[in-house]
């Protein structure tokens, strides 16, 4: 048509672009070869800087070139005055900034920038902070920049208050930024540390104090403000996980004290079992056993060869040392590295003895969340319940409520907790197995508490949809356990911690593996009706339980194995009552 502007066709444009690309590629390759030749010839001159600059400004991820550049700069540095060195490195910073515009996530660039700042006679940290701010305003989750910023802050001594305000600003502009929330969690304990419990008077908050020395806890007053901040975030957008994670951190408590939680001694087996508050590697922890004032040479072993770190460790006493029932013995286990120990007395006439902290005394299972002030937790629970009313389907809210309820009163809230778990599995089916496992854990904790209140050694948790077993170290003294009608798939290696177990009922599960039924010295009776034990080899570990006489395997696929009877009697000769 007349009067129309003629425009090049797409094919023409493409062709032009292709030609241009070819030329560029050729130039790039020849420049690269020239640089590499210079490097192998050991030339460290201005020309090398120029050539690498050309290449790096288009491809800042060429690490070899950055290395070469550093070599050149170090060489040039030796022959220059201080002023010139400053200029040299300042122009280097300028160049890196241009490269960062090409790729703000280039490892090479950020690393080189850190290096240049260490070489710079007078680094300008304010400018560096400004650069970080600009980068983060374009991409608030650029972790390269976050890392670099940490270096800058450390080197330039920016005060913790200023940094906290910095996180205020970032969270204010977008609270879905876990980097900022997390940074906040590292700053708060420095700025508002929790007063030490022993000497509350002399711990005035010192903002410059090193964070490593102090605990990671925050003083109550500041915590309340932070709770409010988190509320604002999760009421605004309850589906954003950053604030919920931060909130969980706020509610959390420091790790449990490391200690020996239980010492058990059996006269008949001449064996000592020791339980710790967390999994340890006993051989390297400096354990010492003293029997009636005499240090003993003993060999510590874990309850199962697969557990290199374990909360329960065993050792055999020298033969005959405690076997006479008319003698009284005093045992002490020293954990020299942690300056702690536990005594245990084996009285006359007793076949066994133990000394332990009860789970109820320690409020063991509340450790997920703080119990410093139950009134605070109660208020937080109310806030979350208020949110749940508005958002009955919100998984973060449900989960947080469960945790708060457990911190406040695990047994009192058991029914509500189970109902919430049910909702969770419905609204978040992708994680239903996680919720089942978590629910199993809480049920086991509750059952342990109930058992201890009742002061019995019988643990019964049948028909509760258990999917996993945990806290088995707490069951060291249990003699009878009933796990029937659950959804267990295996008895894990940790099951071998049940050193006093005599009777195991685990009917109507889906158990395939009996790994944990391993060297249980007192186990006499095992009932595994209607499970999924398929192969004879699955039963091999039972052979290590020397007292086992009754075994019920009805309703397991294993009975289809050829010659099962004879095979079994060969494998387990001591079992007299076998049901197949």
């Amino acid at each position: 048509m007349h009067g129309r502007v003629k425009v090049k066709s797409t094919a023409q444009q493409e062709e032009e672009k292709r030609k241009e690309r070819e030329k560029k590629l050729k130039a790039f390759v020849s420049a690269r070869d020239a640089v590499l030749r210079k490097r192998s010839a050991g030339e460290h001159d201005e020309e090398a800087l120029q050539l690498t600059q050309q290449l790096l400004s288009s491809n800042p991820d060429f690490a070899t070139l950055w290395n070469y550049r550093r070599e050149v700069l170090l060489q040039l540095e030796t022959s220059r005055e201080k002023d010139e060195v400053q200029k040299l490195y300042e122009s280097e910073l300028h160049f890196i900034e241009a490269c960062l515009k090409v790729n703000p996530k280039s490892y090479g660039c950020w690393h080189h920038r850190s290096w240049v700042n260490t070489r710079l006679p007078q680094p300008d940290w304010t400018r560096e902070l400004g650069l970080c701010d600009r980068c983060l305003s374009l991409d608030e989750r650029n972790f390269h920049c976050w890392d670099y910023r940490r270096v800058v802050v450390k080197e330039s001594g920016v005060s913790v208050e200023q940094e906290l305000q910095f996180t205020d600003r970032l969270i204010g502009s977008n609270f879905s930024n876990y980097s900022s929330w997390h940074y906040r969690s590292t700053l708060l304990p420095q700025l508002h540390p929790q007063p030490a419990p022993d000497s509350a008077s002399n711990t005035s908050p010192s903002p410059t104090a090193s964070p490593q020395i102090h605990s990671h806890r925050v003083c109550e007053e500041q915590l309340l403000k932070e709770y409010e901040l988190a509320h604002n975030a999760f009421f605004t957008d309850p589906n954003d996980q950053s604030a919920w994670f931060y909130y969980r951190w706020l509610l959390g408590r420091a790790e449990r004290e490391e200690m020996i939680s239980c010492v058990y001694v059996s006269r008949e087996r001449e064996r000592v079992s020791v339980a710790f508050s967390k999994p340890v590697h006993a051989q390297s922890e400096g354990l010492m056993l003293v029997l009636d004032g005499q240090p003993q040479q003993v060999e510590w072993r874990s309850t199962h060869p697969r557990l290199r770190h374990s909360p329960v460790w065993l050792c055999d006493l020298p033969p005959g040392s405690v076997s006479d029932i008319s003698n009284e013995h005093n045992l002490t286990v020293h954990w020299t590295e942690k300056y702690t120990h536990r005594d245990c007395a084996l009285y006359t006439g007793c076949a066994e003895s133990w000394c332990r902290d009860s789970a109820t005394d320690q409020e063991l299972f509340r450790s997920e969340l703080s119990v410093e002030k139950s009134s605070v937790l109660q208020a937080e629970l109310q806030s979350c319940n208020q949110l749940l009313e508005l958002e009955p389907q919100n998984k973060w809210c449900l989960l947080t409520i469960i945790l708060l309820m457990r911190a406040l009163d695990p047994l009192g809230h058991e029914k509500e907790t189970l109902a919430h778990f049910q909702t969770l599995k419905e609204v978040d089916p992708m994680r239903s197995s996680y919720y089942s496992d978590l629910c199993s854990k809480f049920l086991i904790e509750n059952t342990i508490l109930k058992m201890e209140y009742a002061e019995v050694r019988v643990f019964s948790l049948s028909n509760k949809n258990l999917t996993t077993l945990c806290h088995l170290d707490q069951l060291l003294l249990v003699t009878h356990i009933n796990l029937s009608s659950n959804q267990l798939l295996r008895l894990p290696p940790q099951f071998a911690m049940l050193q006093c177990l005599e009777v195991l009922e685990a009917d109507d599960n889906a158990i395939e593996s009996l790994e944990g039924l391993y060297h249980l010295p007192k186990l006499e009776e095992v009932s595994l009706r209607n499970n999924q034990i398929c192969k004879l080899s699955d039963l091999e570990s039972l052979a290590s339980c020397t007292k086992l006489t009754r075994l019920d395997l009805r309703g397991n696929p294993v009975h289809k194995t050829a010659n099962i009877d004879s095979e079994l009697s060969q494998l387990l000769p001591l079992v007299t009552a076998l049901s197949l």
Binding site: G3, R4, K8, Q13, N59, L100, K105, D139
Partner: protein
């Protein structure tokens, strides 16, 4: 004027407002020859931006309103057999009730009250200007307000104030729009600017604050996620309810069950039903949806949705404002029109249309110089249409006020923010008032001042409608000795809103396309949609404003692609080559995140 006689025009556009400029640009872009005439000496008509001095002359012009005597004889002779004539109106009556008040002190008075010798020396020029003071005193009211001079005034206070002379002296720094609008960042105008590449002719700044005025207090409207999070006025439950409601609005069509019982009921009732507190109802109704108490639910939901969809594209509010004022936008389209061959004549008007009796179509126009110009389509603004050609005169009025102030209504950490303030009606029957406060970095006012636009649909004169709002939001001192006024200068006027009219409102030939003037709404969607529909009427088979090609892709006469090749290759500089090559080698490094932000076409300035 030789060319006029030889060129057969495709489209003749008269009075280039926004709609007309877009039509002209679109026609020119696809190869039509376009002649653009305007009787004024400035572009864009009621869409124009004026310097302060320019505005004063515009006011002067309005006051004088010279009736041009028409000389029928001039064009009578040009009419042939079988032709009929439709005369056009030569008087623009779209502006009415213009009132001006000046509160800025005059330098003369300042000098007499000021004992500071130094000051006198530093501003000698102002003394000369005092002879012109009478010029802006248009109305009786203003004369009353003038003797604010008082020896009782503390001189220190006076010294800080900007004088009227200063405003005049710095008048070139002002770009005062007659129309006050913002650009929705996903509105039709922004989409068109991006699509057509016209955005390259302008720069934009995003609106920093969305405010409202409740109980005489200016406060922030929480509209984005970050605002809701940071808001100190809302309880956490309110935050949840608001977010929940806004999230629902984003895709309300997907959940008809939520609102279908309310389709015939006002939006306000729906908000109540959604258990939003009074606070939140006000925010949503007046500041987010920006609708009235009577607006029906579905319309309210759509308005809310539009607002929300615009959030986050260019910042935390949904709006952009063109630097140098809204008048830039028609000019940008004029520029594109000119690039593709459109011709512009200012101070040049059409007297009448020549209609072919047989086909009842316009075949030519006769201009004020008595030339007959052939054209196949004629686009004209409503104000040029005489009452004889109207079927209906049902148009509304917009009340406008323009203020120059010396401080922001919401002082904040940064004084260079553009704010939108929605002011709910004081009585439920009155219209809501919309206020846009422009800072000097928007290039519409001199440093140290703010340019404030107030807009509402009229129920009385502009002054009746808006003066109560002005006195509620600003200190306007009329009594001598009182604290000096924040407001330096005010202008009230009414503008005709013809946006409700359509082609059925006129009895005109089918190839005359009447464009309505600016409407009262905040966005410009109405004008852009109209432009598009007129364009498709003129050229049904053509694309509306396709992207303009890059200059390097345009082939000039005799400049074939083959001839171009070798010459181009030699001129390429080596450094640029390498850069591109590396990009090719490492595609992963190419979309740098820093750049991708700038990628979206209209450059928004923080």
């Amino acid at each position: 004027w030789q060319w006029l006689l030889v060129t057969m025009l495709s489209v003749c556009v008269h009075f280039p407002g926004l709609t007309e400029s877009v039509i002209a640009a679109a026609c020119s872009r696809v190869g039509q020859s376009v002649l653009h005439l305007d009787r004024r000496n400035y572009y864009a008509g009621n869409w124009a931006s004026f310097t302060f001095n320019g505005l004063l002359s515009w006011i002067e012009e309005y006051k004088q309103k010279v009736q041009i005597t028409e000389s029928e004889q001039v064009w009578r002779s040009l009419i042939d057999e079988g032709e009929d004539v439709v005369p056009l109106s030569s008087v623009d009556s779209s502006i009415s009730n213009l009132e001006v008040f000046c509160y800025a002190r005059l330098a003369l008075i300042l000098l007499t009250t000021n004992t500071n010798e130094e000051h006198e020396v530093s501003e000698p020029e102002e003394e000369q200007h005092t002879s012109d003071i009478s010029e802006p005193s248009q109305s009786q009211e203003e004369k009353d307000s003038q003797p604010i001079s008082s020896p009782a005034d503390p001189p220190v206070e006076v010294e800080k104030k900007i004088t009227y002379q200063k405003l005049v002296k710095e008048g070139r720094r002002f770009n005062i729009d007659l129309v006050s609008k913002l650009m929705y960042s996903r509105g039709a105008l922004v989409d068109l600017l991006i699509k057509s590449n016209v955005s390259r002719y302008a720069e934009f700044k995003n609106i920093g604050h969305i405010l409202t005025c409740r109980n005489g207090k200016v406060e922030q409207v929480p509209c984005s996620r970050a605002d809701v999070f940071a808001s100190k006025q809302l309880t956490v439950v309110e935050k949840r309810m608001l977010m929940k409601f806004l999230t629902f609005c984003l895709d309300f069509e997907q959940h008809p069950e939520e609102y279908q019982d309310y389709t015939e009921k006002p939006f306000r009732e729906f908000l109540k039903n959604k258990k939003l507190t009074e606070n939140l109802q006000d925010f949503v109704l007046h500041s987010i949806a920006m609708v009235t108490q009577q607006t029906l639910t579905e319309e309210g939901l759509k308005a809310t949705q539009h607002f929300l969809r615009c959030l986050g594209r260019y910042g935390n509010t949904p709006f952009l404002f063109p630097l140098y004022g809204l008048g830039e936008i028609p000019q940008c389209f004029c520029r594109m029109c000119a690039v593709f061959g459109g011709i512009y004549c200012l101070r040049h008007s059409v007297q009448c249309l020549v209609v072919d009796k047989a086909s009842n179509k316009v075949k030519a126009v006769i201009d004020t110089r008595g030339q007959k110009i052939s054209c196949s389509h004629f686009v004209v603004e409503d104000s040029y249409i005489r009452d004889e050609q109207r079927q209906s005169t049902a148009y509304r009025q917009i009340s406008r006020a323009v203020l120059i102030t010396d401080r922001s209504v919401l002082p904040s950490e940064s004084d260079q923010q553009i704010s939108l303030v929605t002011i709910p009606p004081l009585e439920s029957s009155a219209p809501a008032v919309r206020m846009v406060e422009l800072c000097s970095s928007s290039m519409t006012c001199m440093p140290g001042t703010y340019l404030v636009h107030l807009t509402c649909s009229s129920s009385g004169t502009a002054q009746e409608d808006l003066a109560p709002v002005v006195s509620e939001l600003f200190h306007v001192s009329t009594i001598p000795g009182e604290e000096p006024s924040e407001v330096l200068w005010v202008m009230y006027f009414n503008m005709r809103d013809t946006s409700a009219l359509d082609s059925s409102s006129y009895s005109l030939p089918s190839n005359v396309h009447v464009c309505t003037g600016p409407d009262g709404s905040l966005g410009s969607d109405c004008s852009i949609k109209l432009a598009e529909s007129v364009f498709h009427h003129i050229l049904p088979d053509e694309e509306f404003c396709p992207p303009a090609p890059n200059p390097e892709d345009i082939i000039y006469d005799g400049d074939g692609p083959q001839a171009e090749g070798p010459g181009f290759d030699e001129s390429v500089n080596t450094e640029a080559e390498e850069e591109g090559a590396a990009h090719e080698k490492n595609p992963s490094t190419e979309p740098a995140e820093m750049d991708s932000v700038a990628d979206t076409t209209p450059s928004s300035e923080e």
